[in-house]
């Protein structure tokens, strides 16, 4: 294979890869397919066979048309689609170039267009596939550029053939390094073919170059300063209605639809035991509540926004058994908090975010990383009962069947009924309602179960089991055609008993209401894949789920079901999941086998990609790169300064002992001896000899400086750490002293009684920095100020230590 042919093929490959990258960023399969087909056709018909070869005029005309089409697309498109239109233009131009003769100039143009496509892909996508393909692209692109460079050189310095046209007298037989062009009567050149072994060496060199470029690029990537928070460009949760996923609404009116499972990662959940700080061992499936709906209206459930805060338990001290949920939520269209309930937190706890949605408002393209405490995991399983802590008016007023006062009963329920909501009153009249079949089914089910209707838990469990286990209903993602004249749930219960979790949950909720039990629909995620590599549960869109929560009055809650440390004076919500075949542990199918391991590995790599490539922002860069570098530089400077001081001290002592003349004589003798020894030794040993000599001097100095450094630390900073540790504050390994001081100071500031000492930790650490890194000796007044700060800290933390430590969790 000639150099020219290799160059042509490599150019085609790079063109295809650029388009594939662009297509993957756009989520389009048509573009890569088009690129592959056109590149293959161009290589065969244009480069090898020479049958199709656009001349300059036709190519220019085609390019003009492509530009015109793209300009019209850009004008019509909105801001987000303009980039796509420009990307399409690059593909059009590339396709035109592919069908031209591959001169050096055309080759460079192709490479430029391909590179621009990669840049656009980087701007509009953030998938890990981009990273994987970019590696391949790097290697192929370098090969193509290098081959093109070789081809250009071989052509420029190749052997000239007879001149074409020969109108110009050839006075000089030599030619410069212009590219040959038969039109100007110049000599046509034949490229010089390099020897075969050239390609092997070139391939090795290019592989090394690609590896080196990767390293350099990686270093530059982490070192280049960031100025803001990284943006994720895709909204991974923007799914069409025909795939599984959390959508924020329950609409049962869409029938005859096939729902496809979406394997996309939504969030990752790590559970940590708050008492020990260790991973909380929980390998079963989890219900993560996302949204709650109370109002049912002819197949539609309406969600209540921000209802979560009504069920957060804020308190001064955490109850026992709190598990910290570290949740990394991928960018979503809906700003929604997903969590296992009940959620518990303290007022002063900053690590457990109390208002994550407000904090991240307006940045729905960003990932949210939340830490939320929960007591849901009790005795090895997620507890089914969630206590109510607060009673937002809307929630309670929307609850059918809740009668707390005659006013509410008369006014609100009547109003709700007037809007068509399913209340106990109108649902209790089967002949008149649209849900007569549902009510009848519920009555029959309760009757057949022979359960006391006043036993809410018994009724709820009976209805749940009837839907779930009787075999009368089937779970499917291929939704059947519903009877348009009926309510969807009425149709589901009476005619087409096939549906997804939303139908089961809706049916159960309505049946419970028909039996006088307040119930609501909860949508969120259920089940999770355990990733043993990363030690977290990974939640995908296909885990989106809907279930039911039935309200229990305080007196209806058995003591055995009550969680320790919680109050049930406002009642509780009992979780019910009527969907059949949906409670099997999803963990079991994901942990074994080669493909499962590959899947987990991929997910972990994806997490690393999103954390350290796509989400590598200023804060992360500061923490991972700059702070360690600053620490190292500070230590080095301090060490050098100490060495200088020691040398000066040693010199001074020597001068005192033997005088300047003696010192000079010693230096000369040492130098001569060293020089003589160095000359005797082989040249390759001279440097190690010098290094060894340096080591003899440096090692004691280093040891002494280290001991000195430790001694300096012990003086007051370690006392500060001891004081803090007694109060429950311990510095994390990745925390700098200043960050630790800020954390402690922040906690102190949050408590009114300790606010006066909030500045003290920072004051101590700043003094520590001056001594530790600046080689500064504290003056009397500075040392007194530090001592005062430490005493103040000790005083505050000694009596408020318990509270502060609990707030830290």
């Amino acid at each position: 294979m000639t150099l020219h042919r290799l160059t042509q093929i490599s150019l085609a490959i790079v063109a295809v890869l650029g388009t594939v990258l662009l297509g993957s960023a756009q989520g389009s399969y048509a573009l890569p397919l088009l690129a592959i087909v056109s590149a293959a056709a161009a290589v065969y018909w244009t480069d090898i066979r020479g049958r199709i070869r656009l001349n300059g005029g036709v190519a220019n005309l085609a390019a003009l048309i492509a530009v015109a089409v793209s300009v019209s697309e850009v004008i019509r498109a909105d801001a987000s689609e303009q980039l796509v239109a420009i990307a399409n233009l690059l593909i059009y131009l590339q396709t035109i170039l592919l069908f031209q003769e591959k001169t050096v100039r055309v080759g460079w143009q192709l490479l430029s267009l391909s590179l621009l496509q990669v840049i656009v892909a980087a701007a509009i996508g953030d998938s890990i596939f981009f990273g994987a393909l970019a590696m391949v692209y790097l290697l192929c692109g370098l090969s193509a550029v290098s081959l093109l460079c070789c081809y250009g050189e071989s052509l420029a310095h190749g052997a000239p053939l007879a001149p074409v046209g020969a109108k110009r007298k050839l006075v000089w037989g030599f030619h410069g390094d212009r590219s040959p062009s038969p039109e100007n009567g110049d000599a046509v050149r034949v490229p010089v073919e390099p020897p075969k072994q050239f390609y092997g060496g070139l391939a090795r060199s290019l592989a090394a170059l690609a590896a080196g470029s990767l390293i350099v690029g990686g270093l530059l990537f982490v070192v280049v300063p960031r100025y803001g928070e990284a943006k994720l460009m895709t909204e991974s949760s923007q799914q069409s209605a025909s795939v599984t996923g959390f959508s924020g609404q329950v609409d049962l009116n869409i029938s005859s639809r096939r729902i496809f499972e979406n394997n996309e990662i939504v969030m990752r959940l790590r559970l940590v035991d708050d008492a020990t700080g260790l991973d909380f061992a929980y390998y079963r499936d989890v219900y993560l509540r996302g949204a709650i709906a109370y109002k049912y209206d002819n197949g539609n459930w309406r969600h209540v926004q921000n209802e979560e805060y009504g069920e957060w338990s804020r308190r001064q001290e955490l109850p026992p058994g709190v598990v910290r949920q570290i949740i990394e939520i991928e960018p979503m269209r809906h700003e929604r908090l997903f969590s296992a309930y009940p959620v518990v937190t303290t007022y002063g706890d900053r690590r457990i975010l109390t208002a994550p949605l407000r904090r991240h408002q307006g940045r729905q393209e960003s990932r949210m990383v939340l830490q939320i405490g929960t007591t849901a995991f009790y005795l090895g399983e997620q507890h089914a009962l969630t206590p109510c802590y607060e009673t937002p008016a809307q929630s309670w007023s929307d609850l059918p069947g809740r009668r707390t006062s005659p006013d509410e009963d008369a006014g609100i329920v009547g109003e709700e009924s007037g809007r068509g909501d399913v209340g106990v009153e109108n649902i209790a009249k089967p002949a008149a309602g649209p849900l007569a079949g549902v009510i009848a089914f519920a009555k029959r089910a309760v009757a057949e179960a022979e359960i006391d209707p006043s036993d809410r838990i018994g009724v709820a469990r009976a209805l749940e089991e009837r839907l779930k286990l009787s075999g009368e209903f089937g779970y499917t993602l291929a939704l059947p055609q519903r009877n348009a004249r009926k309510d969807p749930i009425e149709d589901f219960v009476t005619e087409h008993r096939q549906g997804n979790c939303e139908f089961f949950a809706s049916a159960l909720a309505l049946m419970l209401r028909s039996q006088g039990i307040p119930a609501r629909i909860v949508s969120g995620y259920h089940s999770a894949d355990w990733n043993p590599l990363g030690g977290y549960l990974q939640v995908r869109q296909l885990h989106a789920h809907a279930w039911v929560e039935a309200y229990l009055e305080p007196d209806q809650i058995p003591d055995a079901m009550k969680l320790p440390g919680h109050e049930y004076k406002n009642g509780a919500w009992l979780r019910l999941d009527p969907t059949p075949n949906d409670d099997a542990s999803a963990l079991s199918d994901g942990n074994f086998g080669f493909w499962a391991r590959m899947k987990n590995l991929f997910d972990h790599v994806d997490l690393l990609w999103r954390n350290y490539i796509v989400g590598f922002d200023r804060e992360r860069q500061e923490r991972l790169i700059y702070s360690p570098i600053e620490d190292t530089v500070g230590q080095t400077r301090w060490g050098i300064a100490q060495m200088g001081k020691l040398l000066a001290t040693a010199l001074r002592a020597s001068v005192d002992a033997i005088g300047w003349v003696g010192v000079a004589a010693c230096i000369v003798v040492a130098w001569l001896a060293g020089n003589g020894l160095a000359r005797r030794w082989p040249a390759r040993l001279r440097l190690p000899w010098l290094a060894r000599l340096g080591g003899w001097f440096a090692l004691p100095l280093w040891r002494r400086s280290r001991a000195n450094r430790i001694a300096r630390r012990v003086a007051f900073y370690e006392r500060f750490e001891r004081i803090a540790a007694r109060a429950g504050f311990r510095r994390e390994p990745q925390q700098t002293p200043l960050e630790f001081a800020q954390t402690v100071g922040g906690q102190l500031f949050d408590m009114p009684e300790s606010r006066v000492a909030a500045r003290a930790p920072r004051q101590v650490v700043e003094a520590f920095y001056r001594v530790r890194y600046g080689g500064h000796t504290l003056a009397e007044e500075e040392a007194a100020a530090v001592e005062l700060a430490l005493v103040e800290l000790e005083r505050v933390l000694s009596w408020g230590g318990t509270r502060a430590a609990s707030g830290r969790r």
């Binding site: 460079w108 430029s112 590179l115 621009l116 990669v118 840049i119 980087a122 701007a123 996508g125 990273g131 970019a134 790097l138 370098l142 550029v145 290098s146 460079c149 070789c150 250009g152 050189e153 071989s154 420029a156 310095h157 190749g158 050839l170 006075v171 000089w172 037989g173 030599f174 410069g176 390094d177 010089v192 390099p194 020897p195 072994q197 050239f198 060496g201 070139l202 060199s205 290019l206 170059l209 080196g212 470029s213 990767l214 390293i215 350099v216 690029g217 990686g218 270093l219 530059l220 990537f221 280049v224 960031r226 100025y227 803001g228 928070e229 990284a230 943006k231 490539i613 796509v614 922002d617």
Partner: protein
């Protein structure tokens, strides 16, 4: 050591700057990643292009002489004395410039390509071309350029490797009339017998030239000097021929005048070459041009080279001003006088001129008292040169 960013390199840097700007302004990390991946290859290109030409040794081998129109082949060798780093895509550019070329000053660059020179290896390449104009050409310096691996930057190292090559005037063939002139002027009526080098007197040593017999090689000197040296002989018997080349032109010569000058030089060179090929001949060449030259000696390869080299570099005298014309006439008269004092009375003297000054008139106006004017033959290169010399491709000089 010049270091250049190529046009492609500028385009690459422009795209890189764009990517970095967008990444910074929009906080898009993947753009940072793309920029990082773009910077790496560029830096490596800079490093490799800078390192590869450094330390390479390049040598040039030239032919000593060349005839105008012949193909010049210059052999270049590139040695890579390093222990690790191979040399890739190295281009050696050589510059050729005609020395003292007032009519058509021009410099050309010829290149040779070395795709790969592994460490410790010497590779050879060559460049070829045709030099269609006579003269002395100076070569060098050699510029060693590398753009490996991506062609985004290039670095050039200049190696002073001076060299020169003399391009003889274009040689034609002698006509029968010219050969008859030789026979006619053969001296004496001694019976013809074979004469060889053995009968000749040792004249000296010189470098080997094309056409020399291997029997003439002086092995001892060859072994000592490392290149082939041959003995040169001088014949005792003589058949003399004198050639006077009279070249004059106006300051801005027309193409016709330039062609006339070149034809005159080619005719004179052909006559000289023919005369030097004759054994036992004494050849006298007087050149009246920008400078005056008088060469004479027994026919030999060395004399041939000296005369052809002189003819290669001769330029026509400028006679725009009357004073210059008078000076040229005086020079010509002096040359005639000098020739007439050297040649025997029966030696034919061929006066070759380029039509600018009529040779016959010049001869007529000169005091030629020692030789018979009948032996003086004026050849107008533009008119009757073809009677004596046929130039290449039927170009007879007309």
């Amino acid at each position: 050591m010049p270091f250049f960013i190529t046009r492609e390199g500028f385009a690459y840097l422009f795209i890189l700057a764009f990517v970095l700007a967008v990444a910074t302004l929009r906080d898009i990390n993947l753009m940072y990643a793309v920029a990082g991946l773009m910077i790496g290859p560029f830096l490596f290109n800079v490093a490799l292009a800078a390192a590869i030409p450094r330390g390479l040794r390049v040598r040039r081998q030239l032919p000593a002489t060349l005839e105008a129109g012949e193909t010049l082949t210059v052999h270049l060798s590139l040695a890579n004395p390093r222990r690790r780093l191979a040399a890739w895509l190295v281009v050696v550019a050589d510059t050729l410039e005609r020395h003292r070329a007032p009519l058509r000053p021009r410099r050309v660059t010829a290149t040779a390509w070395f795709p790969h020179v592994p460490p410790g290896i010497t590779r050879h390449s060559r460049y070829r071309g045709r030099l269609t104009e006579r003269g002395r050409y100076r070569l060098g310096p050699l510029r060693v350029t590398c753009r490996f691996p991506l062609g985004l930057v290039r670095r050039t190292v200049t190696v002073k490797a001076p060299g020169d090559v003399v391009v003889y005037p274009r040689l034609g063939e002698l006509t029968e009339k010219a050969k008859a002139l030789w026979r006619q002027t053969a001296r004496g009526d001694r019976p013809a017998r074979r004469r060889g080098r053995a009968e000749a007197e040792f004249h000296g040593l010189r470098d080997w030239q094309r056409g020399d017999s291997r029997r003439w090689i002086h092995w001892r000197s060859t072994a000592r000097r490392g290149e082939i040296v041959v003995r040169e002989f001088e014949q005792h018997e003589h058949r003399d021929l004198a050639i006077v080349l009279d070249l004059a032109a106006t300051g801005s010569p027309s193409p016709r005048q330039v062609d006339g000058v070149e034809r005159a030089v080619s005719i004179a060179a052909t006559l000289v070459a023919g005369a030097c090929a004759e054994p036992a001949a004494r050849v006298i060449l007087a050149i009246v041009g920008e400078r005056e030259t008088l060469l004479s000696g027994a026919s030999s390869a060395k004399l041939r080279h000296e005369m052809l080299a002189a003819l290669a570099e001769v330029e026509a005298a400028r006679i725009d001003e009357p004073s210059a014309a008078r000076k040229h006439a005086a020079s010509r008269a002096a040359a005639f006088d000098g020739v007439s004092h050297i040649v025997r009375p029966d030696t034919p003297v061929l006066v070759v001129s380029a039509n600018v000054s009529d040779g016959r008139e010049a001869i007529g106006g000169t005091d030629l008292d020692r030789v018979s004017a009948a032996n003086w033959i004026a050849i107008d290169a533009t008119k009757d040169g073809a009677e004596y010399v046929v130039l290449e491709n039927g170009d007879s000089g007309k």
